[in-house]
Symmetry: C2
Subunit: 350 residues, 2 copies
DNA sequence: CGCCGAAATCTAAGCGCTTAGATTCCGGGC
DNA sequence: GCCCGGAATCTAAGCGCTTAGATTTCGGCG
């Protein structure tokens, strides 16, 4: 690993100029075959690997995009392999991919298809969001993962797609998903098929555009049915204690609603847990629904009625959006679809 | 997104030299507080984001590491969101994380903890492995994901960890896992508890070090029991058709072994499928075992007996290895543990 | 008030690559 | 054999940043 060979070394060894070396790699047709072979042979002999930083600097582009995510994956444990063995064997580990995992997969797939490298960053410490932003041609971020101020700054420099965010935020774009109508259709099902009247909404009402759309769809359906819309019980996904705290007073009060409509599957699964611990039957005594369609909803007991959104497509679309120059182009929202399982009371549905 | 502001712009606006701007960001203590504030204010006003390519070039390091993986995630479909909705709702999608997914998660976690950015690449087209290698301070790759020649070349330039590869390969290092003893212990269980005598091994015998260790452990146990070791039925993980092809002649022959010992869980799950289709009862007529401990093994029917390896720890360890300068340091192999479920005939075990 | 050393700041030289534009090479036509 | 034009190659100027080493600034002291 002595000194890393550069174009100069290769050029010298091949007896050509550095420009020719560069051309041999970047624009092979511009160089005579014989020369090219000489250059490539010299490069191979020296173990030459082009320095992408230098290339990026010279070209002004890096050929990579960035994905900046929430850090709720953040682990508390120390990563002891023995612990992990135990956890995995017994099922304590984070088993099933969550929303962000599937979106990330979509991003990965689309990047691969387009020959882009993907740079991952997350959390608050370094690499902070600008650290990622400084080395990519475009940035995808989850709403709330990075400070709005930083995003606005970055958006002046490179395209930014903010998942779950506002369409109108400073210079950034977003992937539209039918959050509102998905939630509305779900609630309509609860109203019509089950005759539920007493609704309780669990989750953020308006922290991000995505969440306010969901709550909006919920409110729309209730209003159309002539029901009053009460404020949500505030809770955050991936923060189990907040969901438990939101639920505690309701359980203590002893009077259950007909149904808990949750802003996300992750929260709904916690609700299911809490109710089970309290000895309350779902859907016998109270129904529960989620939103997203993460894998775990299918395997919970009872299986969770939810609204499926195409998470992978969200990731892919984000990449496409990033690469499209036409900023103004009308974007078709990605479809969502209520998935009726047992937790709403449709006991025999698949 | 006009021209991206640079240190020069910030320096001019703040009325200092570019060096001072650089210091204000990189070595704040070297600059008077008042100056620093002026610089940061100017940077904020201009929307300055440091160009990491330039930094990387100047410093000779990038602060990122790369992960180059196999591309069996590669999708055939076109990413139609409607298809995805359907697939996810019914369970056709790639539901559970596989070996590589979990290793990747380990890598991500460790990078986050250490403040490193992570660059992802895969597949054969661009970004090829050197494309990733050229912009990181270290590279992790799955054995077989990249041509050995390219890896050797890269290893002359930056540290390389090759997962599942040889310890001794040209300049690269690897994460040791108890593949051999894990497999041996599993086979010993099959010999002792179930009295199996007629073994059939499905999978690679020796394509990578990891696989030859597994086959080696299998062979050791059989030999110690005085049994002959037959060559494996060649099959590749994540290439379902190869596994089916390996199995076909056995089923056609009509004479089943006592047990199919598979090199990986992915292959074992395919074997389970094939046997079910053929109307053969597992473990009644034949036992099946896997290796890795991926999530899906727990949910198959019957649940799969396998050898659990700490996949996340493999990823974390790879990152650590990359950052350690002491190349020679003895590495403790990561532990593995047979997990006995129903597919070997232990019907009532958890 | 001038001098001194440390602290703060600046100057300038790269880092390794790309790419206009200049130069050289080469084969064909006369 | 010479001239010509396009192809091949080269020269050299950056890209935006870091960082030795030079220079300036500044407060304290005699």
């Amino acid at each position: 690993m002595a000194r890393r060979p550069t174009v100069y070394d290769v050029a010298e060894r091949a007896g050509v100029s550095i420009a020719t070396v560069s051309f041999a790699f970047a624009q092979p047709e511009r160089v005579r075959k014989k020369t090219r072979d000489t250059v490539l042979a010299a490069a191979a002999a020296l173990g030459y690997v082009p320095n992408v930083s230098a290339r990026g600097l010279a070209k002004g582009r890096t050929g990579a995009i960035g994905l900046y995510s929430l850090s709720y994956l953040l682990d508390s444990d120390d990563g002891d392999p023995a612990d992990e063995l135990r956890a995995q064997a017994t099922g304590d580990a984070g088993l099933f991919p969550l929303y962000a995992d599937l979106v990330q997969r979509g991003v990965e797939l689309e990047c691969r298809r387009r020959g882009l490298a993907l740079m991952l960053g997350s959390g608050t410490g370094p690499p902070a969001v600008v650290d990622v932003a400084g080395r990519v041609d475009g940035l995808i971020t989850f709403a709330g993962a990075a400070p709005a101020e930083a995003l606005a700054r970055i958006a002046r420099r490179i395209p930014v797609v903010e998942l779950g965010g506002e369409t109108t935020a400073a210079g950034t774009r977003t992937v539209l998903v039918e959050n509102r109508s998905g939630m509305r259709r779900l609630v309509e099902h609860l109203l019509r098929e089950h005759g539920h009247r007493r609704f309780s909404y669990i989750g953020e009402e308006s922290v991000t555009a995505e969440f306010s759309e969901r709550f909006g769809g919920y409110a729309e359906a209730l209003t159309a049915a002539g029901l009053a819309v009460h404020p949500s019980l505030p809770s955050k996904p991936a923060r189990e204690e907040t969901t438990r705290a939101a639920l505690a007073p309701v359980l203590a009060g002893g009077r259950l609603p007909d149904v808990f409509v949750c802003a996300t599957d992750q929260e709904a699964l916690v609700v299911l847990d809490v109710l089970r611990e309290a000895g309350i039957d779902v859907p016998g005594q109270v129904a529960v629904t989620g939103f997203d369609g993460i894998v775990a909803t299918r395997l919970s007991s009872p299986p969770l009625t939810t609204v499926q959104q195409p998470m992978e497509a969200v990731g892919r679309t984000a990449v496409r959006l990033l690469l499209e120059t036409e900023t103004g182009e009308a974007q078709v929202p990605l479809p969502t679809e209520p998935v009726i399982r047992a937790s709403c009371g449709c006991l025999f549905s698949k």
